[in-house]
Amino acid sequence: MSHIHDQELLMGTDSPLQDNILITQVDKLVNWTRRSSVWPMTFGLACCAIEMMATGASTYDIDRFGSGPFRATPRQADLMIVAGTVSHKMAPRVKRLFDQMPEPKFVIAMGACTVSGGPYIKHGYHVLKGVDRIIPVDVYVPGCPPRPEALLEGLFRIQEKMQRERLLDRTRVGVRPKLLVE
């Protein structure tokens, strides 16, 4: 589970009314709700997609961590798991899908291919060498393909990041990697 404890988030008062009144910061409440229902986009590209499916299916069951409903459309999703090799032919589509997602949005680069090009880095003339060349990535999950546990860990990191968001400060927490291509 996430390292943020809910007790810390919702502080009760010492008055006799403590069971009925909760005092918290709006930031924390909003972030808590947001990180407890992350909606990833169904975005399988290659081998890693199969492991992403396994993460969502019976044994690993991503629903336990508040991230169940894989959405088919980017407009309903707030997490993009880029699972699989991105080719040059596919790259403009990935960019467009990312642009269609509403803010705040997060990206997990799943697998060696999306992290850096993976086994295709040297001779793969048609392979994009890392998806961070076209969209900003929040969490990198290496592996070829990564185990479902690794993807879950990636999700926890995203949830931690969500918990650090500030409502008034609209810029995102943490430094986003500089885009190589605008």
């Binding site: 199969i50 396994a54 019976s58 044994t59 003339y125 048609h126 393909p145």
Partner: protein
């Protein structure tokens, strides 16, 4: 004619009264039902598919170029990522082509042959489980997907014990296999077979006998045997059309001639021969046959070496050209290998079954409803990794 009958005729699909403006619809490359990054351009009239054209290449990973640049042993790694649901079969297909270059003097040790068969058939089951599960999901049933993954995880655990990977095994190498399998593992595989057979009945209850599922798939996307052969379709797609072609029977490679199994074919039990239901049912029945083969192999697996001593660590295939095919879970997977005696092969061409199977899509989807197009694509069970290579 009563007025009621007239209105029914007007509502029939394709009725002249319902003709509307034609529309070009772009499906994919990001679409939950295209099993990856397939893009289909559909020309529709209302909900009818007038024509469609698959666009592939969104996952072109330059497999053949890699084989010309890395050593033969390293190339096995890239074959994993072709049909990533049946990586064992890909390894085997490629290794078989390389082994053929060595000529008949190269004898693969018995134990390795048996391990190859066991792994390949288990992998076939895992692949069909995913095909069936996602096919259920395509036509609106989510439960079978979860059931299928439950069993699939068990197979993946077995593979993980054998070779350390869940998906891309890199296990079958030229001359044998990479590591030996211990007796405890073989016992575990035996247990899995006993556990798995009753589960197939469960799928039959959930999907094959499900009225909604049958209505969604029967008489949809009928592929005639002649058309299937013309388009080079193989595997469950061809067998679903009633053609009993299986390389394990016709041209037994490895040690397949020693095993007893049947080749299931489509019989049109709920509709026409060659419809989506037949293709689906062939896969379900093949899982039973695969379990049968695994059980026979477990009974007679001998001890001994697992790699031929003739193939050294530095693999330099002799000069020559070879073309071999194996029966992978999606059809005939072939490799055309050209070697000029160096450590790096001169040219490798992969004959991918999905490449042929998806090319038949326009022929069988013309005139169907748009929703049926999803059922048809799902029943072809393509893996884009090997379509685009």
């Amino acid at each position: 004619m009563s007025s009621e009958a007239t209105s029914t005729a007007a509502l029939a699909p394709g009725g002249a009264d319902l003709r509307t403006e034609e529309m070009l619809l772009n499906m994919g490359p990001q679409h939950p039902a295209t099993h990856g990054v397939l893009r289909v351009m559909v020309r529709t009239d209302g909900e009818m598919v007038l024509d469609c054209e698959p666009h592939v290449g969104y996952l072109h990973r330059c497999f053949e170029k890699h084989c010309e640049n890395v050593t033969t042993l390293q190339a096995v790694l890239y074959t994993d990522r072709l049909d990533y649901l049946t990586a064992m079969g890909n390894n085997w297909g490629f290794c078989m082509a390389v082994e053929k270059l060595y000529g008949p003097e190269l004898v693969i040790p018995e134990r390795a042959q048996y391990i190859r068969v066991i792994c390949q058939e288990l992998n076939r089951i895992a692949s069909h489980l995913l095909a069936i599960g996602t096919y259920g999901m395509d036509v609106g049933a989510i439960t079978p997907f979860l059931y299928c993954f439950r069993e699939r995880e068990k197979i993946l655990t077995i593979f993980e014990h054998i070779c350390g990977q869940r998906l891309n095994y890199n296990y079958i190498r030229p001359g044998g296999v990479a590591y030996d399998v211990d007796d405890a593992m073989l016992a575990l595989i035996g247990d899995f077979c006993s556990y798995f057979l009753p589960k197939i009945d469960e799928y039959d209850d959930l999907l094959s006998g499900n009225d909604i599922f049958v209505k969604r798939t029967a008489n949809v996307g009928v592929l005639s045997a002649k058309l299937a052969i013309d388009y080079g379709c193989t595997g469950p797609v061809l067998r679903g059309s009633g053609v009993p072609r299986d390389l394990r029977k016709d041209k037994p490679y490895g040690i397949y001639e020693r095993f007893e199994f049947d080749v299931p074919v489509g019989s049109g039990e709920h509709g026409t021969v060659g419809d989506c239901f037949d293709r689906y049912m062939v896969r379900v029945r093949e899982m039973r046959e695969s379990t049968r083969i695994v059980r026979q192999a477990l009974k007679s697996i001998p001890g001994g070496e697992i790699r031929s001593a003739k193939i050294k660590a530095k693999i330099r295939p002799p000069k020559g050209e070879a073309f071999t095919r194996i029966e992978n879970s999606r059809g005939d997977l072939g490799f055309y290998v050209v070697s000029d005696g160096k450590e790096v092969l001169y040219r490798v061409k992969c004959r991918a079954p999905s490449f042929h199977n998806i090319s038949v899509l326009p022929e069988i989807s013309r005139g169907s409803m748009l929703a049926d197009l999803i059922a048809i694509i799902g029943s072809l069970d393509i893996v884009l990794g090997e379509v685009d290579r």
